[in-house]
């Protein structure tokens, strides 16, 4: 119980909730200034998410990669690292999984896991590279991962356009059915919403996240290095090794997310004309979730639903779906500047204390 208390401090539950409310208010104000009716807009959003089983299934699909990237960013953060490169690691995961999905022909119980593992491994290596640069050369991981994002993006496009191309199309060949991660029977029940095993694995990963960090000796070392690298060094912990390990595990989460996005949803990889953005959303999710596994799942659901629902706003009322970026950006802003949120909360707590005094 007390361990749970350590992970969930009072601050880390009230602040995000208030930040979400404030973020939605900001979005409402922006929409109102643009001549849209925020109530109608948010209503259209809710209808879009919960209106039909198809929509609900698709909303869940949208949530899934965010859990992966949220876990990715949060894991690195717990070890004291800013992994802004979840984006690139996600892309590498997509690429590797696609390649294995197309180019090897094996029975499904080998093919699918292999493709998934390839994705995770690709993400781990890509992230480990940044970790190694930091450990051996002291290069700030914020800059190196951002550079690696762009390199991954162009590399992936190259792989799709040149190596895995489907003739005449602007995307890769399809992955073989033996590498599909779709849950066909559930999809059928939900009007062909693209539900896939990735969602299950994502939830499993949040459990793994908790397990590694708080149950294993490795986790103790990673957390110590994250809180105080000097003390960890004094304690005999191999801090540099921890940096690389943490980045690799973090990258693996992101890579898995990318793998499932292809194997479970799109079945092929298109030439991208912009970075998909899951990695950056992962930063938002991890911040909102207080860097703990339960909060991250919750945060991912929030953002995934918001993003999916914004299509409804766009379709019904022609609100540009960037409004969600504004909402999300504002929410993180309020979480990060929790000083301002606590300033809102102060009157509530003061009243409580005065009531208690009066009663005593």
């Amino acid at each position: 119980m007390q361990r749970l208390n350590q992970i969930f401090t009072k601050q880390s539950t009230y602040v995000p909730i208030l930040a979400i409310i404030l973020g939605l208010i900001v979005g409402a104000i922006v929409m109102w200034m643009g001549g849209f009716n925020p109530f109608e807009a948010y209503k259209a959003m809710l209808v879009k998410i919960f209106g039909t089983t198809y929509d609900f299934g698709e909303a869940i699909r949208q949530v899934t990669p965010l859990i992966f990237t949220g876990l990715s960013v949060a894991f690195a953060f717990r070890a004291g690292l800013f992994n802004i490169g979840a984006e690139g690691q996600f892309i590498m995961g997509m690429t590797a999984a696609t390649w294995v999905g197309i180019n090897t022909d094996l029975p499904w119980f080998i093919h699918l896991p292999l493709a998934v593992l390839a994705g995770g491994l690709a993400g781990a290596i890509w992230s480990g590279l940044a970790g190694w640069l930091k450990a051996s050369r002291g290069i700030n991981e914020v800059i190196s991962t951002i550079m690696l994002n762009w390199i991954a993006y162009y590399f992936a496009n190259f792989m799709v356009r040149v190596v895995m191309i489907e003739k005449g199309q602007n995307r890769s060949q399809d992955v073989l059915p033996s590498a599909s991660a779709s849950i066909d029977w559930l999809s059928a029940l939900m009007d062909n919403a693209r539900v896939h095993w990735g969602t299950v694995i994502a939830l499993l990963c949040s459990g793994i996240f908790y397990y590694i960090l708080w149950k294993t000796r490795q986790g103790y070392e990673l957390r110590a290095s994250g809180h105080n690298a000097d003390a960890a060094f004094y304690a005999g912990i191999n801090v540099k090794g921890s940096i690389v390990k943490a980045m690799m595990i973090s990258g693996a989460f992101a890579g898995l997310g990318g793998a499932f996005e292809i194997l479970g949803v799109f079945k092929s990889m298109a030439v991208m004309n912009a970075q998909p953005g899951y990695g950056f959303d992962g930063i938002a999710v991890s911040l909102l979730g207080g860097n703990n596994p339960f909060g991250i799942v919750f945060g991912a659901i929030l953002f995934g639903f918001l993003s999916y629902g914004s299509q409804g706003m766009n379709f019904e009322l022609e609100v540009p779906n960037e409004i969600i970026r504004i909402v999300i950006g504002s929410v993180i802003f309020f979480v990060a500047s929790h000083g301002i949120v606590k300033w809102f909360l102060k009157p509530f707590f003061k009243k409580r204390r005065e009531e208690k005094k009066g009663a005593a």
């Binding site: 361990r3 350590q6 103790y220 110590a224 809180h227 105080n228 060094f233 004094y234 005999g236």
Partner: protein, 513 residues
């Protein structure tokens, strides 16, 4: 001598922080041209009081009068206007800037749009000569000695016309020689009509320089005495509230087999000069070996090299015959070495971890704390409870963050951890820094008990009294070299002082070969 005029008076100053009354109805008078010492233990409230005088804090009750008129000092700027200057314990100097740039900061002379650095340099030179504080205005702070940096701090106040100077623990970072120079400077300043408040806990220095001494304990003024009519014992009693013995109960040691053998240790430093320069010494079981020296002479690097936290470039370090140089920190720990680090926040604890997690910082990976790769929290908790009881660590629970413990209890926790791992060699660096007298006595007792139980203890301290009280043998380190090694029974304080300042004559006289 008739009474000199009062230049500053603090009347009934009270300052509260959450959970504590730092200053409780404090009144104090400072006269012109006097050197007024403010004596108290760590946490007694001296710094808070002076920060109020310097405008960094506001008092909750009471007021200040400068030259007879009540004033409100609402910031450093106002204090400077009132000609109050503060020479901080931790210098407020911008390292990459020059001496002159630091002195003129905030008050820069200009020529059109640019800073007139030439006239700044000249003005600095002028003041430095007037008060006998020699510095070169064009040198960068990061390139000068600590003693010179302090002079720059002093010049900062004089440049702004300070008449009231507050010195916060000024001798903490100086060599014996620099301390003597500072004493001369202080007397000069007083003679020029400056009024000086000296915050310190060093009784000897108070007896030597101060005219008056106000003693503060737990936020209250115990008394203001004329130093001429008092003595160290009286001041100490006022400071602590009971009679203090300066002696630690210690029988003569019976040293056994060699536990630590350091031979010709060399640790490279910047600019090609080694920071540890061919150091050789032994420590036997059942003895305490102390290393004296002013901070910054290589002690830190020496300890880091022995514990595996820093690479050495030559020599050998053996514990119980096993060569440890070049191995990892963990190997050293497993060879039977405990380390109470100099900086308990930087190295000693992970402040965000619970007390329980901190208690296994060096051996979390061993059974029973880790079993097949998984942590055993129950075992960790039991261990923490046991240690906390044994060593009287006060906290609200073993699951609270280490951050929430007081400095003294944090240190006790570290000592509990390091002493109960059953080490052969205990390395303690500044183990009583920042602790109150009760905690200091406790730590000293623990170290002597360990030594009596047959452990070897390597003690590094910047307080000579502590070294004399605990050590069986002593060495003095200066610029990375051992200037001499001797029995601590011989009261060779003067020799030690000379060696600490690099005087080889002291070494020749005290060397026991």
């Amino acid at each position: 001598m008739e009474q000199r005029p009062i230049v500053a008076e603090l009347k009934g100053i009270t300052k509260r922080f959450p959970g504590i009354v730092a200053n409780d109805n404090i009144s104090l008078q400072l006269r012109k041209g006097e050197i007024h010492a403010l004596l108290g233990e760590n946490g007694a409230g001296k710094s808070t009081l002076m920060n109020i005088l310097f405008g960094l804090y506001q008092p909750d009750e009471g007021h200040i009068e400068i030259n007879g008129s009540p004033v409100v000092i609402d910031g450093a700027g106002k204090a400077i206007e009132l000609r109050i200057g503060m020479v901080h314990q931790h210098f407020k100097l911008v390292k990459p800037f020059t001496v002159a740039e630091n002195i003129i900061l905030g008050n820069e002379p200009t020529k059109g749009a640019t800073i007139d650095i030439k006239s700044a340099n000249e003005r600095v030179k002028q003041i430095s000569e007037q008060y006998g504080l020699k510095v070169d205005p064009r040198v960068k702070i990061e390139d000068i000695t600590v003693g010179m940096q302090q002079r720059v701090e002093i010049l900062k106040t004089l440049y702004r016309g300070a008449d009231i100077l507050i010195f916060d623990e000024p001798t903490a970072v100086l060599t014996v020689q620099e301390i003597e120079e500072l004493i001369v400077i202080l007397r000069n300043l007083a003679r020029e009509g400056k009024s000086i408040i000296l915050i310190t806990h060093k009784l000897k220095e108070i007896m030597e320089i101060a005219d008056t001494c106000t003693v503060i304990r737990r936020g209250k003024v115990i008394g203001s005495v004329s130093v001429k009519e008092s003595n160290e014992r009286q001041l100490a009693e006022m400071m602590v509230g009971r009679s203090v013995s300066f002696q630690v109960d210690k029988q003569k040691s019976k040293p056994g087999k060699p536990v630590l053998e350091v031979k010709d240790l060399v640790v490279p430093g910047e600019h090609g000069k080694p920071v540890v320069d061919h150091v050789t010494f032994d420590i036997r079981a059942g003895e305490v070996f102390g290393i004296a020296g002013v901070d910054g002479n290589g002690q830190t690097q020496l300890i880091e090299a022995i514990t595996g936290m820093r690479k050495a470039s030559g020599g050998s370090v053996k514990v119980l015959g096993k060569e440890l140089l070049g191995t990892s920190v963990r190997t050293v720990t497993e060879a039977g070495v405990s380390h109470i680090p100099e900086d308990r926040h930087k190295h000693g604890l992970v402040l965000d971890f619970s007390v329980s997690e901190n208690m296994v910082l060096n051996n979390y990976y061993k059974e029973p704390f880790t079993h097949k790769g998984l942590l055993n929290y129950k075992a960790m908790d039991e261990n923490a409870k046991k240690l906390a009881e044994q060593f009287d660590v006060r906290m609200s629970g073993i699951h609270t963050e280490a951050r929430s413990l007081s400095g003294g209890n944090q240190q006790k926790a570290i000592i509990a951890r390091e002493l109960t791992r059953d080490p052969e060699l205990i390395i303690a660096v500044q183990p009583t820094r920042g602790l109150d007298v009760g905690a200091i006595e406790f730590v000293h007792k623990q170290l002597i008990e360990a030594r009596n139980a047959g452990k070897a203890v390597l003690l590094v301290s910047f307080e000579l009294e502590e070294l004399y009280g605990l050590s069986d043998r002593l060495a003095v380190i200066y610029e990375g070299r051992f200037m001499g090694q001797m029995e601590a029974d011989e009261k060779n304080e003067e020799q030690i002082g000379l060696m600490m300042a690099g005087n080889a004559m002291g070494a020749a006289a005290g060397h026991t070969g």
